[in-house]
Symmetry: C2
Subunit: 188 residues, 2 copies
């Protein structure tokens, strides 16, 4: 395939994802109808579903895009920094409320759950590697297994997403994240 | 009002709440239609909305009932024990998935948000009092303000609710809660 055409495809794909992100943020998963997705992306349904099989595929692509970005930060600066970034720019994560809406489907729809788990594999991997490095460097507490530390940080991240989705970030969450960070560090 | 009639009203109210809880758990907030609420409660819409003004009022009454029960446990044994109970019986908290679905409304509907905050005031109060007592007894860390400890436990609770709602409780969450508990305790 010639280069120009690949660039065009990538640009189109990116245009669809950006539009879909705003559309999900504004209307939620069920509310993001095909008509609204057309308006938000400025493209026809034919064009949209040429690039993405269906609304689920769009949703999972967005989740994957987020997880990828988060994985880059997690690899360098850890998962708590990912949370600090979310807290600093909650408006960029509005669409994550959608993630909460789909909780029931995650419980009952195995195929969807599978796609969802895959999207987060990269972030998990980056976080585990960073935790192992920090542990080897003596900066992390060594009395708790790495998988428990990972489970802990993941649980706090889920809490933060729920909080951002419902607009409750005005409290003392920055100090809370300090506490979270301190509690995985080696105690002195 | 004669006693028998008060008993009857309380029983009817309880019947409606139990049915509504299953209905929300099975179908979500939007999916819990009036027809389904009638089926789940075994009562007519007339009877249901004689006791509760509308679906929001039903939902907030359920949230209040939960918060009240949690407050009893939190007052005696702390908020981490509330989470351990949820983890031990996730099926009793299925309906909380609904709480996630309403995140967008919490962000945008001030009246609804207000009703929602009131429902949790009792739980917050019970948790704060217990934290203060533990701090006075020297069992709690004293290098972090109580409001930050409260915000921390609340954030983890929100994460746990998100996890239960999406059916992901099979991991090492019990060990994670040990870590959470240890991190608010006084360090030795």
């Amino acid at each position: 395939m010639p280069k120009v055409s690949e660039d065009h495809l990538a640009a189109r794909r990116s245009q669809i994802l950006d539009g879909a992100r705003s559309c999900f943020a504004a209307h939620g998963y069920d509310g993001a109808t095909v008509r609204r997705l057309e308006e938000a992306t400025g493209l026809s349904r034919g064009a949209i579903f040429h690039h993405f099989r269906d609304k689920d595929a769009l949703f999972l692509a967005l989740a994957h895009e987020d997880a990828s970005r988060m994985a880059d930060v997690a690899a360098e600066q850890g998962l708590v920094q990912v949370m600090r970034d979310m807290l600093a720019h909650p408006e960029q994560f509005d669409w994550l409320g959608t993630r909460l809406e789909i909780a029931r489907r995650l419980r009952t729809d195995a195929e969807f759950r599978n796609g969802w788990s895959q999207r987060s594999a990269e972030l998990t991997e980056a976080t585990v590697q960073r935790l192992e490095r920090q542990k080897a460097a003596g900066r992390l507490r060594d009395d708790v297994p790495t998988d428990v530390l990972l489970g802990y940080l993941d649980l706090v991240l889920d809490g933060l997403i729920a909080r951002i989705a419902s607009g409750h970030t005005s409290d003392n969450l920055s100090a809370v994240l300090d506490l979270v960070e301190a509690s995985v560090r080696r105690q002195h």
